[in-house]
Subunit: 206 residues, 2 copies
């Protein structure tokens, strides 16, 4: 299809598609003339993924580029890819944590047997969260981590089952991105609903 | 203390404190002279909460104003407040969902007995997530919701226990805000760690 049809079908304006082509987020079409190229279903599919990462995931164009780069590398094993995909989707730079909060996180990792992940950027995020809680006088908030982690293990098992429904490498990687980005948004929404439900039951009827 | 000391103790620059005062995020100090006012511990505490909402929660100044407004209203019951706090912390406007995705979410609410929350903004977010998944050809992603919801119920129970550790109305409301904002950040980080752990176990060693 021509770029105009790709735009109509995807709902993405032509100038935006050209921008994605220049940034390498979308592979070039097959050249069919001096100023013309032909695009296929794989372009349509990629375009939808880019829009999902930007609109739902709130990723910057640079972060989308990193994720796409990983999607296009098929000679690294699935497990390694997960780390790269997650890093490019993590928060930019969490505020620095105080030493007490950092020590609390290391204790927590030890309790779960997760010490080998001490260098993961997610550990910095956790330390930063606890650091803020301490500054606000919420010293007991650290006690939430164990129950949160327990719930997260169930979620992660489910995420992995979903990813493993897909057998092609491309599909596995794409489903990781989808499960991570859409899963974050879904969990935030579900936690709100579950809180409202629990609060209605415990604190009174609506 | 003077505004300069409030700034030193909190680490928030004087012009920023003055901005918060103008926006009503911080109550005025006690006037002690023509151009001087005295600030107390409650100002320091409020200032830290505002910084946490902005830095950790990523809230806009307008959204912080809404949350503070709720914190200062003590004649509504705790359960009603939860809804107001959550709404001011929700995503601005989720992309519109297609009717199929919306129907999937209503089915899901019926399965859980959560129909009475059909108007909650979180339901719009869920529909928007499923809509995006469908557009990307991930029709099976909707199947994740039940397991995610199960995990969220455990998390919400824990959140509520935390909130109920506090007995003063002010403290209850503040702890709701803290648990919601910091809890979101903590859960995103823990889900990443749990995924990496599950993936290392299932797909191979690091």
């Amino acid at each position: 299809m021509r770029i105009s049809e790709l735009s109509r079908t995807s709902g993405v304006p032509v100038p935006t598609i050209k921008y994605y082509l220049r940034e390498g987020l979308l592979p070039s079409g097959e050249r069919t003339g001096r100023n013309q190229a032909d695009y296929g279903d794989e372009h349509l599919r990629r375009l939808k993924l880019v829009r999902a990462l930007v609109d739902v995931g709130g990723l910057s164009i640079a972060a989308v580029g990193e994720v796409i780069g990983v999607l296009e590398t098929s000679d690294i094993v699935t497990h390694q890819v997960l780390g790269v995909v997650q890093r490019s989707m993590g928060p930019d730079e969490p505020p620095a944590a105080d030493p007490d909060a950092h020590a609390e996180v290391l204790d927590f990792l030890a309790r779960r047997g997760w010490e080998r992940m001490a260098d993961d950027p997610a550990v910095q995020s956790l330390a930063s969260v606890l650091s803020t809680a301490r500054k606000l006088g919420h010293l007991k908030f650290a006690g939430q981590l164990d129950a949160y982690a327990e719930a997260s293990v169930g979620i992660a098992r489910q995420d992995l089952d979903y990813v493993l429904l897909h057998s092609q490498v491309d599909d596995v990687l794409e489903s990781m991105v989808i499960a991570t980005v859409l899963g974050d948004a879904a969990l935030v929404a579900l936690r709100r609903l579950a809180q409202r439900d629990a609060s209605a039951r415990l604190l009174g009827e609506e």
